[in-house]
Amino acid sequence: MTLLDVVIFLPLVAFLIVLVLPKDSRDAIRTFSLVSSTAIFLLSLGLIGPFWFASPGKFVFETDIPWIDSPAIHYHVAIDGISLWLVILTTLLTPICVLVSWRSVDKRVKEFFAFLLLLEFGLVGVFCALDFFLFFVFWEVSLVPMYFLIGVWGHDRRIYAAVKFFLYTMAGSALMLVAIIYLYNQAGTFDYVKILAGLQNRSIAVTYQEQFLLFLAFFIAFAIKVPLFPLHTWLPDAHVEAPTAGSVMLASVMLKMGTYGLLRFCVPMFPAAARNAAGWISVLAIIGIIYGALVAMVQPNMKKLVAYSSVSHLGFVVLGIFSFTQQGFDGAVYQMLNHGVSTGALFILVGFLYERRHSLEIAAYGGVATPAPKLSTVFMITMLASIGLPMLNNFVGEYLVLQGVSIVNFRWAVFAAIGVILSACYMLWLYQRLFFGPASDDLTHHMPDLNIREYVIIVPLIALMLWMGTFTQSFIPPISASNGVLLGPIDARRDVHVLRAPPEEPFTHASRELANAR
């Protein structure tokens, strides 16, 4: 049993313990959830160990034991540089979500925290599973608690949003299940590593047509989750109606299940199909970037605005992945983490405002900066991070993606960059409407500044934004190494125009070093 197994299963244990705690001792439930999720986070930091001095690029903390003999299903988990940070992002955000919900969730407290911990179990599992069946199990298991979190503790139209969210994902995963079984029948195993190797050395024979259909089945399931335009329509509903903790987990972690799936499974396993589809997928991603930004601009509801900004940001990730370049891949993974931190923080801050004034309408605010200057400051930093200001995290990710894309197709990079400009428009305008201008008396009375709990929640995220924006080297090397491994076989079959050497840039230094080493 490795540390990773502990990190995967502790949330489940904590979930079961919360279930048996007495319903009325709310504070005990809250405290227990906080302590256990913090402990899990601290343990998960230990996972960085093997990546600290060297970036192996391969899987570590591997456990592979049979679960069901026939069909041969294994409990096979491990992490590489890509999974590492996503796992830590999940374990970091769970205690933060517990704190966020400390006061705002006051009915059915026990069930809420139980579902939050169950969600953590599913999400951590998704990023570690290397057996397709196991992956699918975690994929669906994470769906159920999120459905309840939205449906029970959400806002007015929560039921509609919860059902829509569930059905969209369910429809996508039905196709994925067919593809998984089909692969099993071809390969005789559910093991990702074996299947990938088999597909690469052609010991698993699939025709191009089969490959394309398999690619499509996986792609649709993941694209719904990302969500890629035009499959995004569940997202604004789910984000807006979910309670703050639900929005945070949904935006920061759950959406990454989709992009992670694309990066880990879709592209490396079916490179030929992925390459041929890259054109229209990139176009959809660019449409998503611009469309998401434009729609965000006209939203009167601030949560919806942040939700549409997610569509826009996730478009960058997809674009990066389908550029098939080291920079694009690195940028995509980094952007996943950035989006997790900064959009998560935005949702939390919107939640803070909502707790004070009980409205999500932007028009209900104005002049918040006067009564609550500290809140305004952290909001400002988060907002600037989300726009992509240099020295803050999103800049690095967006930059790498744009660079990767420009190697492949410069025009796409230009269009995608429009999205960055638009994001500055809607974010600055939002900030202006919320925080500047004269504050009404009514608002001033209901707008206390940040309290200790809120500091504890937001300061780590702000620190991360700065850290990730300045000391990129602390995070990028393991990501680059693992991306290099994924990209290697695809690289070999590159066409000419991507063979051009990318220009020297400080942020890609690590990746280039690694590329040279290879």
Partner: protein, 488 residues
């Protein structure tokens, strides 16, 4: 030398479960007048004991597999699997019935006796190796179930259900009998192995058409019993009208037994002409899934909703039948077991919730159950998630295995459409979850009594079964796979 027709002791041992249940059923009716009004509760206890004894006998019989009564019956692991399954369904039904019958003031010996007889018929079906035995088993099971469907004889809906079930059921059985007559005329035998041998013999080609027609006629009979399209119309009315615990029983027991004979007949006797019947089963499977799932979307009565869901699930099993390979048979067996658990669980909650005169059977009535009785609602959620097919439940693994079998048999489109269907199905199951957890409690939940001991046991047992089949399916799966090899 005169042939000795007297059955041997081994024959009786192989038939022991049925003997126990018949004797117990008859005894219970004898005992009833001796018991006072107050002690009628004891009858359910006696029935459970009889079922348990039969269960033990069925398991013991598997230690010495073989045929009995001049090859009329066969005890193999396939038969044992279904015998244990239907007897288990019987036990759970009794556990769920006691409270219901007490509330309706209808506890009596004939209810339990009929239940025992019906299960006996299903056991015979599971073990039958010959078409006439299949027919007899089917009739024993069906006639007992017809009466059970109309058990509360002063209730109009019960009468309607029983009459509908009886008329349509007899009609379908007539088709089956006609098919049997035809195959006898063609091959000169009603023994499944002999029919198979005949169809495999070269030179018998000219009679394949006749055999196919008889297969089609028998398909009609079986499809009716498993409520597969286009012979499913009776199911919603009957399931809705019958008393809730009887519906619980009907949706699990007789259905499993009917699938058992379906699988056995079509995979042994008619295996040589697979290419003739496979397209029919294929289209019937697809149609059944679509009709069941889409019709369920519009239901507000929870019994009717679960009836359509039960049709849809029959469709999934039909996919496994259409795959006509060993994985398919094993998948169907596994799915029927998982389905028995989750469906009995769901209907047990409905039974508990409906109360006198089945007053509360609308989906909306369940509002707020999640906060009024968290444990009941949590167990119900497990059953519903299993019916949706969420991983870590038996329903998911069963479905997974069925579609694996279908892909093995290269039924790619059937699998894709089937799985998309299950996404549609999620909608109406989710609606129940929505009502239970996301709406405020109403008058119907406020007056709800706590769970009775019998129904509580049944609920926990079903939930445990559902979860075990979802997390550790290996044991049952291996058994099912071995059994599927044998009947081929």
């Amino acid at each position: 030398m005169p042939v000795n027709f007297a059955p041997s002791a081994a024959d009786y041992l192989r038939f022991l479960p049925e003997i126990i249940m018949i004797v117990a059923g008859t005894l219970i009716m004898f005992i009833e007048p001796l018991l006072g009004e107050k002690r009628k509760e004891g009858l359910s206890f006696l029935t459970v004991v009889a079922f348990l004894a039969a269960l033990v006998a069925a398991v013991m019989a598997n230690n010495d597999p073989g045929t009995a009564f001049s090859k009329m019956l066969i005890v193999d692991s396939f038969a044992t699997f279904f015998r244990v399954l239907v007897i288990g369904v019987g036990i759970l039904t009794v556990l769920c019935s006691a409270q219901y019958l007490r509330i309706e003031h209808a506890a009596s010996a004939e209810y339990y006796a009929l239940l025992l007889f019906s299960v006996t018929g299903q056991c015979i079906m599971a073990a039958a190796n010959e078409l006439i035995m299949i027919f007899i088993g089917l009739e024993i099971s069906s006639i007992a179930t017809y009466i059970l469907a109309g058990y509360l004889r002063d209730d109009k809906r019960n009468n309607e259900a029983a009459l509908k079930y009886f008329l349509l059921g007899s009609f379908a059985t007539a088709f089956l009998l006609y098919g049997i007559a035809w195959i006898y005329g063609t091959t000169g035998s009603t023994n499944l192995t002999d029919i198979r041998t005949y169809l495999l013999t070269p030179g018998s080609q000219r009679n394949v058409t006749l055999a196919s027609i008889s297969a089609a006629l028998m398909f009609v009979g079986f499809a009716f019993k498993v409520s597969a399209a286009p012979f499913q119309v009776w199911a919603p009315d009957v399931y809705q009208g019958a008393p809730a615990p009887v519906t619980l029983f009907m949706s699990a027991g007789p259905k499993a037994a009917a699938f058992a004979v379906f699988l056995r007949v079509f995979n042994t006797a008619f295996a040589p002409i697979t290419d003739r019947w496979e397209p029919f089963v294929w289209s019937s499977a697809l149609l059944t899934m679509i009709i069941g799932n889409f019709a369920a979307l519009a239901q507000s009565n929870i019994k009717r909703l679960l009836a359509y869901s039960s049709i849809a699930h029959a469709g999934y099993v039909m996919v496994a039948v259409a795959a006509h390979n060993q994985v398919g048979i094993a998948a169907a067996m596994f799915y029927l077991a998982a389905y028995a658990f989750m469906n009995i669980g769901a209907f047990a909650v409905v039974t508990h919730f409906s109360r006198q005169g089945e007053k509360y059977v609308n989906v909306e009535d369940l509002a707020g159950l999640g906060w009024k009785q968290p444990v009941t609602a949590a167990l119900f959620s497990i059953f519903l998630l299993s019916l949706i097919g969420v991983p870590l439940t038996g329903g998911f693994f069963g479905k997974f295995y069925i579609f694996k079998a279908a892909l093995d048999a290269h039924l790619v489109w059937l699998s894709v459409l089937g799985l998309l269907n299950s996404a549609v199905a999620a909608y109406y199951y989710l609606r129940i979850l929505v009502v239970m957890y996301m709406q405020e409690p109403g008058e119907s939940t406020a007056t709800l009594q706590p769970l009775g001991i019998g129904i509580r046991t049944a609920l926990w047992a079903s939930a445990l079964g559902t979860l075990i089949l979802g997390i550790f399916p290996s044991t049952l799966l291996n058994f099912a796979r071995n059994a599927s090899v044998l009947i081929k």
